[in-house]
């Protein structure tokens, strides 16, 4: 391959000027004119209840109120992987804050005031606020209709229970594996719920015009998936895909929370009741916490067998997920973990059970890491603990078991090439493994820790990406993709890929945020897969342009096809040194031939990418037989932690993360993912914590009580190490890294605490208070 000129180098972000001047528009910044209506919701105060009666009369009489909508207006269910969710509650509510009715008015303040006048009569039912209670024989059933719900073929709901999906993976024989082990170790790890806390809240504006066309503007990672879900859910109203247009301006942070369809269905559905008038639904910060998706909690029972030489002989992982009231998306998190909950190790004997359990808490769903952070806490804690018991080095144990390209995965497919071992070695060096550090303060101790991670995109087997590229008169480019810019820098890396092939500088490329009428299909921007998937599509579209260009020059100017190439925005020929034809001379007007006619015309490229080797269909009892994951990104991380032994207060002195990204399209953007993701991860360990009372009400739905990190909480140093073992089917070998950077945070902290103080904490968050309690319990304080 020729040397890369753009890919692999840092490049100014293509969205930079808009974002630093305040010109960038987010959904709440768009103007919709004087006809705009506002919807305000009436929410359930009960975690579990039947709706007996809704009296809207008083609210309807408030001047300025246009209409009050209830579940009767929308007898529709929806959902991405399982249709178990409703636009507005039907006869039952299943979590505190669930949308029961909506007041639509000309003024947001009037809508809010009138919403308080809607009277709803409930008959309370016993709530189930914990997944272990939901499994009890006499537990109330949250979804008596579960058996009849439409769902994807790789889900296995258990009718007449609260188990919405049970992913079982079996490989080898774990009983035999434990017998072969010299040491078997078991423990339980618990992880609570967490919130994404993108600084921009969710919002949606729908407009259903007189011709029957529905346009929805949303803050979303998933414009096409939204179009599909809207069209399917609203099909009883005669709406079809061609009638639905989803436009997504810049998004103020996603982290999985703006994937799929949550509150956006309201903007789409409500609009259908007010022809010609746009209807806006904006979440407030509290709703952002309790009625989008939350990261699911889990109780993980882990059993690992190991030989004295450090080889893992068997892994049994039993994970009970608190999936919340609706699992249309969250069940796929459970599914993904059920296939991968060994971590990046070669294990011959595996038994994983991952159970998606309904509870009367807000719906669970995708969150950066997609369940991998949660099981990684247990797995990576466990390995370090076993190493200690066997008097082995925890890094050596990981190196011994590190998965290699070609190894068989838990579900029988083969692992992709990867640089995990290299990542382990590099982190070990960078963190100064084996060197004890001492604080100058006698009250403070310093611990060091290590953890590996892996993650695959969780996507349907036919998730695809596509791209259009069109040239402008000056040979600048517009790239159209529906991969979403959520801050990660997708638009920039797409521009870099096209620039590499077409030799048009990035500064002359505009990449548009999605509009489903204009930009071609992308499944969703989730799973750290768009650099790979969308990048492949853009690369193909750029090659398509290049081939059109070279064909045209060849046939019009009779230059040898094989001699032609692009350089510095011009066509050149290897056999005709000195000759060149600038792109801008012909990419729109065409080339004039000897007879004065013109050949060619506007150059436009298209590219489509679908991973054609994947399949989600396998034996439900073992998960053997399919190929559900496209590839895994692997890596390693290390951390140095200072702890005040009197107060338990912790300070991260240094954290190092090495990820095998295949090929860094833009190293600066990767550093951004590492620094930002790691801090987000550390916050989930050290202080973020979602609290509910005994009635299922969230107690801290605001930034005063649910603390997210400020600049003061950042680690003293975060070091990024890029490993590049190419992904054979990735653009220039690239694979994703957006989520991975927060996955190892929890075991890093837990392992460092044990290293420094000799106490082990197995439940998150790991607050200073918990550290002190553990020290007291061990008689160390």
């Amino acid at each position: 391959m020729n040397e890369l000129k753009v890919v692999g180098h840092s490049s100014e972000r293509v969205d930079s000027l808009e974002k630093i001047t305040g010109a960038a528009n987010y959904v709440d910044d768009l103007n919709f004119g004087p006809e705009l209506l506002y919807a305000y919701l009436v929410e359930s105060p009960c975690a579990h209840a039947e709706i007996r009666k809704i009296n809207t009369a008083k609210a309807e009489r408030v001047p300025g109120v246009v209409k009050v909508l209830t579940g009767k207006d929308f007898p529709l269910s929806f959902g991405l992987y399982m249709q178990d969710r409703y636009v507005l509650a039907q006869d039952r509510v299943r979590f505190v804050g669930e949308q029961v009715a909506a007041v639509v008015a000309r003024d947001p303040k009037i809508a809010k005031r009138a919403a308080a006048l809607v009277e709803v009569t409930y008959k309370e039912l016993p709530p189930v606020l914990n997944q272990m209670d939901a499994l009890k024989k006499d537990a109330p059933l949250l979804h008596p209709g579960l058996k009849a719900y439409k769902h994807v073929p790789w889900f296995f709901p258990k009718g007449d229970t609260n188990i919405a999906h049970w992913r079982k993976t079996r490989k080898g024989d774990t009983e035999k594996g434990f017998k072969q082990a010299d040491f078997v170790f078991e423990d339980v790890y618990t992880v609570p719920r967490y919130a994404h806390c993108a600084i921009e809240v969710h919002g949606a504006v729908g407009l259903y015009d007189a011709s029957g066309r529905l346009t929805v503007w949303t803050a979303s990672q998933s414009p096409y998936t939204q179009r599909n879900v809207f069209a399917e859910a609203l099909s009883p109203l005669g709406i079809s895909h061609k009638d639905v247009r989803v436009i997504t301006p810049y998004v103020g942070g996603g982290f999985g929370g703006k994937a799929g369809v949550s509150m956006e269905i309201l903007g789409a559905a409500f609009a259908t009741k007010f022809k010609g008038k746009p209807v806006k639904v904006m979440w407030n910060r509290a709703q952002e916490f309790y009625n989008t998706y939350q990261r699911q909690g889990v109780e993980a029972h882990l059993k690992v067998g190991m030989k004295r030489d450090g080889r893992i002989t068997a892994v049994e992982h039993l994970l009970y997920w608190d999936a919340g009231a609706y699992v249309e998306y969250g069940a796929n998190v459970v599914n993904a973990v059920g296939l991968s909950a060994t971590g990046p190790y070669k294990v011959d004997n595996i038994k994983i059970d991952s159970l998606c359990i309904y509870t009367n808490l807000p719906p669970g769903g995708p969150y950066r890491g997609f369940g991998y952070s949660e099981f990684c806490f247990g797995m990576e804690s466990h390995l370090t603990r076993i190493a200690k018991k066997l008097r082995m080095d925890p890094i050596e144990i990981r190196l011994k078991n590190a998965i290699k390209g070609g190894d068989t995965l838990a579900y029988g497919a083969h692992m992709n090439p990867n640089g995990l071992s290299k990542a382990i070695e590099e982190v070990s060096k960078e963190i100064g493994w084996g060197k004890k550090e001492q604080s100058s303060d006698p009250d403070k101790v310093i611990g060091k820790s290590f953890a590996c991670f892996w993650k695959a995109p969780a996507m349907p087997p036919n998730a695809s990406s596509s791209a259009f590229i069109k040239f402008n008169e000056d040979a600048s480019l517009n790239i159209m993709v529906s991969g979403m810019e959520i801050g990660q820098g997708l638009l920039t890396s797409m521009a870099q890929i096209a620039s590499e092939i077409l030799t048009v500088p990035v500064s002359k490329i505009r990449v548009e945020t999605p509009d489903t009428d204009r930009n071609p299909y992308e499944w969703q921007t989730v799973g750290s897969h768009v650099t790979w998937g969308c990048g492949n599509a853009v690369k193909k579209a750029a090659i398509d342009c290049r081939e059109q260009i070279l064909d045209l020059v060849h046939r019009t100017l009779h230059l040898e096809r094989e001699s032609l190439y692009l350089e510095d925005e011009a066509v050149k020929s290897r056999t005709k040194p000195g000759w060149e034809l600038p792109l801008k001379n012909f990419v729109i007007p065409g080339i004039q031939a000897e007879d004065f006619t013109f050949k060619g015309g506007p150059i436009m490229g298209r590219g489509v990418f679908m991973p054609e080797f994947t399949s989600a269909i396998s034996d439900p009892e073992t998960s053997q037989g399919g190929h559900p994951n496209v590839h895994y990104t692997t890596g390693a991380s290390g951390l140095t932690l200072e702890i005040d032994r009197r107060t338990g207060r912790m300070k991260v002195l240094k954290v190092v993360l090495a990820a095998d990204v295949g090929k860094a399209i833009n190293p600066d953007l990767i550093r951004g993912q590492v620094v930002g993701g790691m801090l987000q991860g550390l916050a989930t360990v050290l202080y973020e914590d979602m609290r509910f009372d005994a009635k299922g009400r969230m107690l801290n739905p605001n930034f005063t009580d649910y603390k997210i990190p400020t600049v003061m909480d950042a680690p003293v140093e975060t070091k990024t190490i890029i490993i590049e073992v190419p992904q054979p089917d990735g653009p220039y070998g690239a694979r994703g890294v957006g989520e991975h950077t927060m996955i190892p945070a929890a075991p890093l902290i837990a392992n460092a605490i044990e290293d420094a103080l000799g106490v082990r904490i197995t439940s998150m968050p790991i607050t200073a208070e918990k550290v002190v309690a553990a020290l007291k319990k061990e008689g160390k304080l």
Binding site: G22, Y26, V201, G252, T718
Partner: protein, 155 residues
């Protein structure tokens, strides 16, 4: 019961009709189309609504619109009117933003700091943005952006 208030927005005289309980953030956005200040929490926690009033960075979600009678208000639109400031350039160079939603508030808080202290220490930079939440960047690149010699004119 609306009242007309007069003030300067980004250097230009303007006025708007506001109710006594109208919040400045919403009034600027809805009445005057100044959309760079954003609403991230509506209760003073996140700093995305930061604007400058008479040279001080304040949270516009905590201020009533009627309070700005006679004041000079500066938003990021005003900062960006002329040449792009060194701080903004440095934000681009250092990747000091990702989704960009926090950037207007950050830049306003930092503009206040740099107006008073052209060569701040790292601690002072952190202090200045300790009330501006950013969920994407991890803050490191923001601090680097301000500490760049092109911004904090040391030597």
């Amino acid at each position: 019961m609306k009242k007309t208030i007069h003030f300067k927005l980004n250097g230009e005289k303007t006025s708007m009709d506001v109710a006594p309980n109208d919040v400045l953030l919403e009034a600027l956005r809805a009445n005057l189309g100044a959309k760079s200040p954003k609403c991230g929490c509506d209760r003073g926690d996140c700093g995305t609504c930061t604007v400058m009033i008479n040279g001080r960075a304040v949270r516009s979600c905590l201020i009533l619109a009627v309070e700005v009678e006679g004041c000079e208000i500066l938003t990021l639109e005003g900062v960006s009117k002329g040449r792009i400031a060194a701080l903004q350039r440095s934000f681009v160079k250092h990747n000091s933003f990702q989704c960009g939603f926090c950037a207007p508030g950050m830049i306003m808080s930092l503009t206040e700091l740099l107006n008073h202290k052209p060569t701040p220490t790292e601690e002072e930079v952190k202090e200045a943005i300790s009330g501006n939440l950013c969920r994407c960047t991890g803050y490191t690149q923001i601090v680097e952006g301000v500490m760049d010699p092109a911004v904090s004119k040391k030597r």
